[in-house]
């Protein structure tokens, strides 16, 4: 049973991790919590599932369209809302509020457009592997693999390429970055596009594993918690945080109390933050006096 619960935990964590990747990417760039991230994921899932249901598209195509669509909407968020807020020189928290607004818009637009019915991807049988006395779902393996792969790709891109350096300068101070000749608008667009595509991936996998519905993006809250735990802005931290939260939740449910699961999770979070105020892997360069 312990092994099974561990597998369960990793699988739950894997989903959180996938969501957290794109989320952490945006945080690392703009320093704000993109509360619309989960809803972009939801949009991606809907685009994919509608392509299958309405247009009878083969699944792989639908997935590609869904991922691209999510990227597009994320890009749109940047162009329509976030960019203007930055140009206004508003405090970064306004970005977060705008994201909440966007989240409300997306959820309700989805409700009106697609109805409140829950949808499932057709023709997807729950393939799972038996390992001794534990079972592991195929989708779990995929989501974990995708998030680990994305971790490696992002890690290399951000820390070891010129593109990554550009992104980090824009993150650090867009004005100065533009004085270095860096086309900040393009970088913002790229990052939102990529983050949106990650969200799309997460959304589609989530939809395949569970169901597609307008408020499915709310799992992103867990991604938020995971990235805080791992250290905001650190993609690596976000993934580690996600796995910790996933395993923790499952273990508390299994061995302590299913009712008080969230209580334990948050107490753990607070304890970790008290010991490490910027998360497990976060760095905070403070204003020098």
């Amino acid at each position: 049973m312990f092994i099974q619960q561990l597998v369960n935990g990793i699988s739950v964590g894997g989903i959180y991790a996938l969501m957290a990747t794109g989320y952490a990417l945006i945080y690392s760039l703009l320093g704000f919590s993109n509360w619309a991230h989960g809803d972009v994921a939801m949009i991606g899932a809907y685009i994919a599932i509608q392509s299958v249901l309405l247009a009878n598209m083969p699944l792989p195509f639908a997935v590609i369209i869904g991922v691209a669509g999510a990227g597009f909407f994320s890009f749109l968020n940047e162009k329509v809302a976030y960019k203007r807020i930055r140009d206004n020189n508003s405090p970064t928290m306004f970005l977060m509020i705008a994201a909440m607004g966007l989240s409300i818009i997306y959820q309700n637009a989805a409700l009106n457009l697609f109805g409140s019915k829950f949808k499932i991807f057709p023709g997807l049988s729950a393939t799972s592997f038996n390992m001794g006395n534990a079972t592991l779902g195929l989708l779990d393996v995929i989501s974990l693999a995708v998030s680990l792969a994305s971790l490696v790709i992002l890690d290399i891109t951000i820390n070891h390429t010129k593109l990554g350096l550009g992104i980090r300068t824009v993150a650090s101070n867009p004005y100065t970055a533009s004085l270095m000749g860096i086309n900040i608008d393009r970088y913002f667009s790229i990052v939102f596009l990529v983050a949106g595509m990650y969200a799309g991936c997460a959304g589609i996998l989530l939809g395949m594993k569970y169901t597609v519905y307008p408020t499915m993006g709310n799992v992103a809250l867990k991604a938020f918690i995971a990235s805080v735990l791992g250290g905001l802005g650190s993609v690596r931290g976000a993934i580690v945080g996600a796995l910790i939260i996933g395993i923790m939740e499952v273990m508390v449910t299994a061995y302590l109390s299913s009712g008080l699961r969230d209580l334990f999770t948050f107490v753990l979070l607070i304890v970790i933050l008290l010991v490490k105020p910027s998360g497990l892997m976060g760095v905070q360069v403070e204003d020098k006096a």
Partner: protein
């Protein structure tokens, strides 16, 4: 090379620069002098499109400058901004590499990096430290070093000597002169009027948003009333 004509700019209702015309010719060092709040910084910001002008035109090599700072920089204009503006959460090395962002030639970047390290050995020592943890003067050196990572046609320096130890200040002025000798034009804003005049070919004196006097250092230094009035003696 750079021609600013009848430029005006304002922060909301406050007019910071009005009707300013200046020119920088190739390979020239031009100084802009003036008291606190004269509008010098504002002028430089307008030139690199970091701030919107309300009137006037800015021509670089005969063409109007684009209105995004990053496009202006691509023309070969670099600004060492007031207040250093280094990337605090990037390391010293990364800050310098960011300065070389437009430079495609890897060898040239390497060369420039060595050059900057040679000029400011402390930066080499601290290359893996976060920019934000440098001392004020070290940050200033980093800001200047970052600008030296590429070879622009025109470099604009906004009070480069600010917060530097006297020995480094002298060095900065030497660096500026050596830049000139490699063919770069320089637009220099400085509080240290005498030092600035000593190395510049021409100078403008600004007061309350306007150019009040233009001339060669010799001419300006002769006019003691003028110096008294605007720069203090």
């Amino acid at each position: 090379m750079l021609k600013v004509e009848n430029l005006s700019a304002a922060y909301g209702a406050i007019k910071a620069v009005s009707n300013v015309s200046i020119e920088v010719k190739p390979k020239e060092i031009v100084a802009i002098l003036g008291a606190n709040g004269a509008g010098k910084t504002t002028l430089l910001k307008c030139i690199c499109s970091a701030m919107r002008k309300s009137e006037g035109s800015i021509l670089f090599e005969g063409k109007k400058t684009p209105d995004k700072p990053y496009d202006v920089v691509k023309l070969g204009i670099t600004l060492v901004p007031e207040g250093r503006l280094i990337f605090t959460n990037l390391t010293v090395y990364e800050n310098l590499m960011a300065g070389a962002y437009l430079c495609k030639d890897k060898n040239e970047v390497k060369e420039n990096l060595e050059k900057v390290y040679a000029l400011f050995p402390i930066l080499k020592e601290r290359k893996n430290q976060y920019g934000g943890y440098l001392s004020g003067g070290e940050q200033q050196m980093l800001a200047i070093g970052r600008a030296l990572m590429i070879r622009p046609k025109l470099i604009m320096l906004d009070e480069p000597s600010l917060g530097l130890a006297p020995i480094i200040v002298s060095q900065i002025f030497q660096i500026i002169q050596s830049l000139q000798s490699t063919g770069t034009s320089i637009l220099l804003v400085e509080q240290n009027a005498y030092k600035a005049l000593a190395i510049s070919n021409r100078a403008y004196i600004m007061n309350v948003g306007k150019i009040v006097k233009e001339g060669t250092p010799e001419e300006l230094l002769k006019d003691s009333a003028l110096l008294e009035a605007y720069l203090g003696t």
